[in-house]
């Protein structure tokens, strides 16, 4: 559904000399959504984000926000704000002065600046640390300050460049919940660059998977994970086996593969190459006669009722309906 507030990328291209970092991508981001740009390093996702932010020039194409082409405007005139990887807080300024920096640049008077900064700091629950210097804050606190600093410019689109990668795993999960909550409360479009598919699945209303400078697939997390269009997406999103079946490349969910106990019909036979205990389940890796690797996720109770050892040969079975055909 198109609305006038869309952010739209039109034939967006970025070249560095002869290398193409972003190759002619077209996409419409719906307003007030949480979008994750997902892909391996070097796929062009960060360059795309930086072009939207205005920190990278556009080689060709346009970026339309709210009906106007913003691709040649300076960063602050675009209606976007960027939250940098490792936050880029000004180390010589207090938390409050960091947040009110943009207002100071605009020449807003001191009292108004302080008042507005405190309001934003309240929003991210950091008001009590307003007098601290960034170096005195933990990673999660720095992230909140960076968020407040980006949001004070009242952007339509907030661009987040790997915002969680500087945090430890526990904090990462907590902060991503906060990001999601903040997006819902503010109603701003968040575009979040990440290489972690779990992060994208957990956060996004829409996942845009990029690879080799193009968009490989875009859709809701469930669509992208459940119906990968290409082999790359299936492998990158995880949880899938990519096998040749009936002469075609197909994706098969790892939790849809069963181990056929003696007597039950098996679809293929394979020899077990590895067993990995994962707590609630066990990942059984085996190699088929075609030399393809298949992982079966077996519930832990079922596995330990009939344990399997590496080197054994077993039959693997799955329902025909669980096979998902890949386009490429």
């Amino acid at each position: 559904m198109r609305t006038p507030n869309d952010l739209e990328l039109v034939h967006l291209t970025k070249r560095y000399g002869t290398t193409v970092a972003v190759n002619d991508i077209n996409h419409v981001f719906a307003p007030s959504t949480y979008v994750c740009l997902l892909g391996p390093s070097g796929c062009g996702k960060s360059t795309t984000l930086r072009m939207i932010a205005g920190h990278e020039t556009v080689s060709e194409g346009g970026i339309i926000l709210n009906g106007t082409d913003i691709s040649r405007l300076p960063p602050a005139a675009r209606g976007t704000a960027m939250m940098f990887q490792s936050y880029a807080l000004f180390p010589h300024l207090t938390v409050r002065d960091n947040v009110s920096f943009s207002l100071k640049m605009k020449g807003v008077d001191k009292a108004t600046r302080a008042e507005k900064a405190m309001k934003l700091l309240d929003l991210v629950a950091m008001a009590h640390l307003a007098e601290r210097m960034p170096a005195q804050l933990s990673g999660g606190q720095q992230q909140r300050v960076a968020l407040a600093r980006a949001l004070i410019t009242e952007p339509r689109v907030l661009l987040l460049d790997e915002p969680l990668s500087a945090l430890d795993p526990f904090l990462r999960i907590r902060m991503r919940a906060e990001l999601k909550k903040l997006q819902r409360e503010t109603g701003i479009t968040f575009i979040h660059v990440t290489h972690g598919q779990d992060e994208a699945l957990a956060l996004a209303d829409e996942v845009v998977v990029m690879n080799n400078s193009v968009i490989e697939q875009a859709g809701t997390p469930r669509e992208v994970w459940g119906s990968p269009r290409t082999e790359f997406v299936a492998r990158f999103m995880g949880g899938h086996n990519v096998v040749t079946f009936g002469g075609q490349r197909v994706a098969l969910r790892q939790d849809a593969v069963r181990i056929a106990a003696g007597g039950q019909p098996a679809t293929v036979t394979a020899s077990v190459t590895g067993i990995e205990y994962q707590g609630d389940r066990v990942a059984v890796t085996s190699r088929t006669e075609l030399g393809e690797e298949v992982v079966a996720l077996v519930p832990d109770a079922a596995f330990f009722a009939q344990p399997i050892n590496p080197g054994e040969t077993l039959g693997l079975a799955w329902d025909e309906g669980r096979v998902h055909r890949l386009e490429a």
């Binding site: 602050a76 960027m82 880029a88 000004f90 180390p91 010589h92 605009k106």
Partner: protein, 291 residues
């Protein structure tokens, strides 16, 4: 373990003292002792033909009540201040250009090394080389006359305060460039992007981000330049044609006349003055944190 038992039984603090002792000995013998000596001698008495150990405030009394001393100290401050202003302006600009406008690290290093080339010859040679350039019939005057800018040679180009400050700036600017460049290269470029993202203009980025974050380098460079200029005597002598004096020349003249006690007293006063100036600078920035 077969190594000597001493190293096992020696306490950590003894090891620490032992490790620190070579440097302590060098500094003690070549820094603390001579300064202590100067301090002691500054209380001695001298006549035209003898130096007598004594404890007398005579030298200080004479020094601090003489209008010549005050004039010379004032001149020294003036040179230090002017040199500081110009080296700071030039040093900051050059460092800024190197750190933010030169993209590749290789050309940064190459251009920085270019800045150090004048240091391949001695200070004095570089100073003297100004004389044929600035002299009455020097290159500068001749060029200006032939260009029709002036019709009389400019007298103030050489043997003047202008020449003194020019030589000081020429000799000392690198001491400003180096520490500022060093702190600037450590500024995260994302901070500048963040400032631009927040709507800061070029000048605002310079004033609100780059200058404050370069402050440690500016302070270290300032200490270098000010102490070097405050302690100099040869530049002032050559470039002013012996028409101006600074504290260094006062001391050097006293030494020439074998008036060691008086020279020592002047040195002690100069040392205290410079230490006070550095003390003030250090109140503004924690240099140890930045190194």
């Amino acid at each position: 373990m077969s190594s000597s038992p001493v190293s096992h039984t020696m306490s950590e603090s003894a090891k620490g003292w032992l490790l620190a002792s070579p440097l302590a000995l060098v500094l003690g013998a070549f820094l603390v002792l001579p300064i202590g000596m100067i301090f002691v001698v500054s209380f001695w008495q001298a006549t035209e033909f003898s130096i007598e150990p004594a404890f007398s405030w005579e030298n200080y009394e004479f020094l601090l009540t003489s209008p010549v001393t005050w004039k010379v100290f004032l001149a020294t401050f003036k040179y230090a201040f002017l040199t500081w202003v110009f080296t700071l302006l030039i040093g900051f600009t050059v460092a800024y250009y190197l750190a933010f406008h030169i993209r590749s690290a290789a050309s940064q290093t190459a251009l920085f090394l270019l800045c150090t080339i004048p240091f391949l010859t001695s200070n004095i040679i570089r100073m003297i080389s100004w004389i044929p350039f600035l002299g009455r019939n020097g290159i500068a005057n001749q060029a200006l006359i032939s260009l029709g800018v002036i019709d009389q040679p400019l007298e103030w180009l050489l043997y003047s305060d202008f020449a003194v400050v020019l030589a000081f700036v020429h000799i000392n600017t690198l001491f400003m460039i180096t520490p500022i460049f060093n702190t600037m290269t450590r500024i995260d470029h994302r901070l500048i992007e963040a400032a631009r993202d927040q709507g800061a203009s070029g000048w605002q980025i310079l004033w609100s981000v780059i200058v404050p974050l370069s402050k440690p380098g500016i302070m270290i460079g300032s200490i270098f330049v000010v102490t070097l200029v405050m302690g100099d005597f040869i530049t002032v002598r050559f470039m002013s044609g012996s028409q101006s004096a600074n504290v260094g020349r006062l001391i050097s003249n006293d030494i020439g006349l074998l008036q060691y006690p008086s020279a020592s007293a002047t040195s002690v006063v100069l040392l205290i003055t410079v230490l006070m100036m550095i003390g003030i600078v250090l109140r503004f920035v924690n240099i140890r944190k930045e190194l």
